[in-house]
Symmetry: D2
Subunit: 346 residues, 4 copies
């Protein structure tokens, strides 16, 4: 029997990819699309790609009615902006649903930190403690049977997977970590804006936002601190690439021991990810081209010496929409419901 | 009276841009195109863009005959691969020409370093001492009347301009500098190769080469060491962007003094470049989109504090083909011949 | 002495290109930027590319004050949307200015046709008769001393230049002409819209709008009818390309005489454009890549026979923003003021 | 029990997509990769995307040994260039394999036409009569149990699906058909070439080849003549788009009856394709963006009247690598072996 799945907020890019992946999932069935828009959208009109792939009555979005959703679905993906998401979570949990929230609302455990980062208070502190941070490769044990999963951000997924094994084994120093990150434009969402207008982004490349103040920076630090048990300092510097999808992070770290070898670094990754279906430790250099459209995280590492200084350089690549959002959400669903974690994702 | 200009090796992208810029130069006239190919190319067939812009007899490339070139030109741009370039320089100088070499052959002052970086011995050590490194904003005084100019590499131009003023004023530490660089594909040259085939680079992004061993790394270090008078350590990590042209470097440095302010950093840049027509110190963030097709270098700087660590982050953007190659070569020509340095470049 | 130039509506892409070209024009000086926005924009903030290239006081847009503009400029470029443009023209002419209007308001001679095509009545019928259609290669004689120039549309420029010589010499039939046109996204303007959001246009290609009802279709027919003296029937089918700029039209026509040769067709183009600095009759196939950034129109023609049917196929390529808008507007200015028509455009 | 599948020539783009699709096919198992290269390639080194998805011993290509292939596979996909393909077919058939040939060698039924189009004689005329042209939507009855399938070309697939229903119902005239086609660069293959070098194709668009002489033109005519029972005349004019994958054809036809309506046209398509899982008759306009990565063919049609002339305009979009090559090849395999035709393709 199939798991019955609802999506709230399906008209953005994460919604698009959730639908696209779920339509091919062998053990899940999409049963309910819910929108907060006043004029309820038809998802085939929003995404012409879905013509002929979604039954007509399912394509018509319905209102966000937790009771109705609860009676037609077992699990609900929340693909709403932060703040809007946590307004719905209590009622959805109440309705008996497992909630997988793709917004940032339940990622940061400390509500004061949440408020300072997102600029408004957290309105569902009651559920924060039970929310599970859904990064299976690092925190899989939390997932089985969880009722509320906070799906990680895109930059944090690539960064945590690329750094955690090295920090955990004390191979690199926990502060002064630099994450030079570059993302495709879907990462900026689906709402048109002057700087995301095609001729402004095409043939363009540069950093964006307030440098050192990206909202994903504390999220990365929280994950890594949990792994190491102490404070970790990361500087995340994001850039926008003239492509649809894909994130590549070039991560600069400093070794702890002077005799660290590149082999030690590879060993750390290979031990950590030997049984992980979605992390590929590569010898060659990752490229977004090799992961786009997949749930893989491609990693490699180099030890570089120059003029007396030694650096560890990690490259970590994911599809920001798949492993960085909707694919990982489905991986989390699989883990929560004890399905094969790769179901629908290979 | 116009300066008479020859180009040797005009069929690559630097040759293309030299021609394109020289056709609009108010005080220079293209008189000779010379190729080392056995079958001499017609430049309009090579570059359909030039149809109607180049006289037919000029468009037909001629052999590399230093005597003939010397009689028809005052200055010659060498747009040949390294190694091939230095094979021609002695005879061209002998023929009375001013030589502006866009290859790497005369950039590194130390022939042993050259040999270790480029993998073969230097064959014109005699002219190395008199060769001038043509980065006018840092070393303008060398240029007036020079007979041999080594035109800087693309990454070194953006890096040196973005770092020198801070090092010179001892605001940042001279080692452990990280240059995370990204370049458009023209930087890889015009010869087709599997990894530069359109469908391989389109929608792609990633690092390339042997990390920590890019040939431009010692060139950057040489420039900066000259500015500071002591050793400088730089790690250059290059990435390829799915665009034609443009380089953006995200440069990570550490402050010397704990009370360094962002204002100090801007002051350093503004003092250094107040009178420079081609360096723009910006408040907003640079983007390759804003410099492509121009000879500008766009710079900005940020001071970022996080978890006790403080970093200086510089962003430096140029068009790799203009300020990073052909535009700077013409700027150098202007400086050598005491023309307005901006002639033909604004 | 320089021609003094004002631009009204400089914040769109045509405004951008007007400024960019005028800053390099040897005989024109930009003196006034006027905006209809309530909050008057600073053009360097709108277009970061112009940093350091425009005096600060000029960069601050001023209100649209015809008297003030008239006292500081000789000629004004109107880069406003249709309808808004004709609201300003009478007062600008009154103020003694030569007006070059880049909107569609004065292109169609018949106000009833204008109303049916643009969906609202023409509000300045008085000036329609004296407005000159500024396509110099076809109608140059009208330009000298004109006070109001209607600058042609982008598709109509490429189409008229590609068809007129063949129709004029009665080599092809005047009806059933098909113009399969493809344009870069700048042709759709600078206002963000869902379908012009980067991830929607990137890696995309398709037709758009109501097929057979593009507003440029009657404009093309008007130009060609004027050339032939009788009705011409053209079907314009526009497509959007995932590039910034460039238009390529693939034009299908039927020969009049059964013994027409490809040589006849080339002869027609070569006679028509022998002295035209901006039309290049090519033997090889045009590509937007070879004209982008230039004021050229690249043309070629083929005669194709297959299964008894014979077709004439013309390919016509321009930069939609240069020869299709701002470059042609400057060419028109040059012609009106008896400057070298190529001034500032090569 | 799974169908055992071999691929000969897996290192091109069609090979890539065959592997990618077969890895997800529920009823087929990849068992043999064979290469004609002297140094046998490892497919994971050729395509870094496949790391971790292909067993190591399978990844190592083996020689083209028909006996060995016949003992390990039931069906073989030939992804070799034309001419090379037919050199292997007899032995593969002899070995008991079902052969699905993605080259052009068995598409044209007339060997004299083949020779004139491809420039060399057909060397396996014996198998031409039994070769089945694998366009299931038009010629499905031929497929069940076939031993040799000629997989259609990319342009012919989009064209035949877009034209056949209208010709079959005598709604449009069989001659003077114009197919203005545009394709992504994967259509040109995976061998690097100067004109396919990234900076040459990026931001580019134009026609290519000898206009009116594309090898797919007679293939389109053959399919349509078979549908109508008489001669059909088609002019195919191909253009190259700066995207990886996707074909969109804008097809211009003339109505037979003066009272033809757009509804008649839609009726024809809807009747023809009512039960087809891979053809979507759309009301809105097709775009390559909506079909890339899928096996769909998106179609729509418009009836346009202008100045007395009436035209039928069909837009047909496919992924040139999926429905235009590898996806259709798998669809054909499914049909031959009586599997669900959509297996592995939705």
């Amino acid at each position: 029997m199939s798991l019955r799945v609802a999506i709230i907020g399906p008209t953005g890019y994460t919604g698009f990819h959730l639908i696209d992946l779920l339509l091919r999932h062998p053990a899940a069935e999409l049963t309910y699309l819910a929108s907060h828009r006043e004029e309820l959208p038809n998802i085939v009109e929003v995404f012409p790609r879905f013509l002929g792939r979604i039954p007509e009555d399912l394509a018509e979005c319905r209102p966000i009615d937790p009771g109705a959703i609860g009676s037609e679905a077992d699990v609900v993906f929340l693909a709403l902006p932060h703040r809007a998401a946590m307004a719905h979570v209590p009622a959805l949990l109440e309705a008996g649903l497992t909630v997988i929230d793709l917004s940032a609302d339940y990622r940061l455990k400390n509500p004061a930190l949440y408020e300072s980062v997102y600029g408004h208070p957290h309105t569902d502190i009651a559920h924060l403690p039970s929310a599970v941070y859904g990064l299976p490769e690092l925190f899989r044990d939390d997932l089985a049977g969880a009722s509320l999963v906070a799906n990680p951000g895109c930059y944090p997924t690539a960064a945590a997977l690329g750094i955690a094994p090295l920090l955990e084994r004390r191979l690199v120093q926990p502060d002064g970590i630099i994450v030079n990150a570059a993302s495709g434009v879907t990462g900026a969402g689906r709402s048109p804006a002057p700087h995301l207008h095609f001729p402004e982004q095409n043939e363009a490349y540069g950093p964006y936002g307030q440098i050192g103040a990206h909202r994903h920076q504390p999220e990365i630090q929280q994950s890594l601190s949990r792994v190491t048990g102490s404070d970790v300092g990361v500087l995340l510097v994001p850039h926008l690439l003239p492509i649809d999808s894909g994130i590549l992070e070039s991560i600069y770290l400093q070794p702890v021991a002077p005799d660290l070898t590149e082999e030690d670094l590879f060993d750390a990754f290979e031990q950590a990810y030997a049984d992980e279906p979605f992390v590929r430790v590569r010898n060659d250099l990752p490229n977004v081209k090799h992961v786009v459209g997949t749930n893989f995280c491609d990693l490699t590492v180099r030890l570089v010496k120059n003029n007396g200084a030694t650096r560890v350089v990690v490259f970590s690549a994911i599809d920001n929409m798949i492993k960085g959002a909707s694919g990982q959400a489905i991986q989390n669903m699989n883990a929560v419901f004890d399905l094969d974690e790769t179901a629908g994702l290979l």
